[in-house]
Symmetry: C2
Subunit: 180 residues, 2 copies
DNA sequence: ATGTCCATGTAATCCGTTACATGATTAT
DNA sequence: ATAATCATGTAACGGATTACATGGACAT
């Protein structure tokens, strides 16, 4: 149920439309919690029903109207209460690992190819993180909110770095298997 | 839809009951793909309907009967076909990261506590991996299936190691925030 | 007495994904 | 022309979680 809280967290920064939120869940906060625009719109309707956000339509010319969602006092309280509760371990579902686990029943050239793709994806993510870090955080004086985001980003960076290296090692180990 | 394949992969090793599979998804293959016993039973029913496993009941005294599931030829073929298809990136949902992202609206002592718990969980996982590695793989000559599992395990180990370090660094960064 | 292990499942609910649907503006 | 961007959603389906349900064996 933490999509609700993730949305509220975004709205503590500034009021946003569903569209804005959907984009946010595809970048920034989306690095730690993914959600599609359909999920966002559904959850916004629920948050409205629960009185955790206020929604007001804003007229626009030449574009569809926006519906701006603002977090309420009870919304802020909900975020604080959530912050006190223990976190779940993120659930793991990694097909690539399962394929290694099943190596004997798998097409190894295809797996090597898929490993290569995965490595590229992690590299891409890493460089995206770096660009954000340089642009928004390096050499600036930061408030608490920014420091928090920087810590999250820093963790993301070292994690992606390590994953890239680990997967490259796996590529070598795969080669060894193929040579025998 | 990869739970189906993960179950089939387990059954390539040996025929198993739903109960056995549920335990397997709570350890070994569960390190890379988690599933509850409810999910396993439901998916087994489907695999039976699709002819990818054969199920036979085995009489037991003093215990409930077991239903042993054996992978069929078409089951093996399904695993191979699946191995050719590209893998999805694992989806990310990490409340702890979201809480860092929302640092200003969060109770920091509570967060530090939760970080500590998370570090312990990664350490526990790491030592579980090590025990398995020592017991089943170190200093033994291995076939392809075993080599695959060892590669997966090795990746798991370096990932958990790195996560532990990263989170310990985050603890220090949190301390810095609290001191200002 | 209390709890854990063995072994099977069903039911309800919730979360996530895919597909469908609309329609104007602006850039190539 | 074609595609992308802006901006809103609904509907159907499938996957995951939580709760419920049974019942004997065996250990403390």
């Amino acid at each position: 149920m933490a999509l609700a809280e993730a949305i509220l967290v975004c709205l503590t920064d500034r009021p946003m439309s569903g569209y804005d939120l959907a984009k946010t869940f595809d970048a920034s906060i989306g690095f730690f919690w993914r959600a599609s625009h359909q999920q966002v719109y559904r959850e916004l309707a629920r948050l409205r029903d629960r009185g955790l956000v206020d929604s007001t339509e804003i007229e626009q010319r030449g574009k569809p109207n926006r519906i701006l969602h603002t977090i309420t006092k009870s919304g802020e309280e909900a975020v604080y209460q959530w912050s006190l509760k223990p976190c779940k371990m993120p659930s793991i579902k990694d097909e690539l690992m399962v394929k290694f686990y099943a190596l004997e029943n798998v097409d190894i050239p295809a797996l090597r190819e898929q490993l290569g793709v995965r490595i590229d994806q992690h590299r891409a993510k890493l460089s995206a993180y770096f660009r954000i870090k340089e642009r928004f955080y390096d050499g600036k004086s930061l408030n608490v909110a920014q420091k928090g985001k920087l810590i999250a980003l820093t963790m993301g960076i070292s994690n992606e770095k390590e994953l890239t290296i680990t997967l490259e090692n796996a590529l070598v180990m795969l080669q060894d298997v193929e040579e025998t």
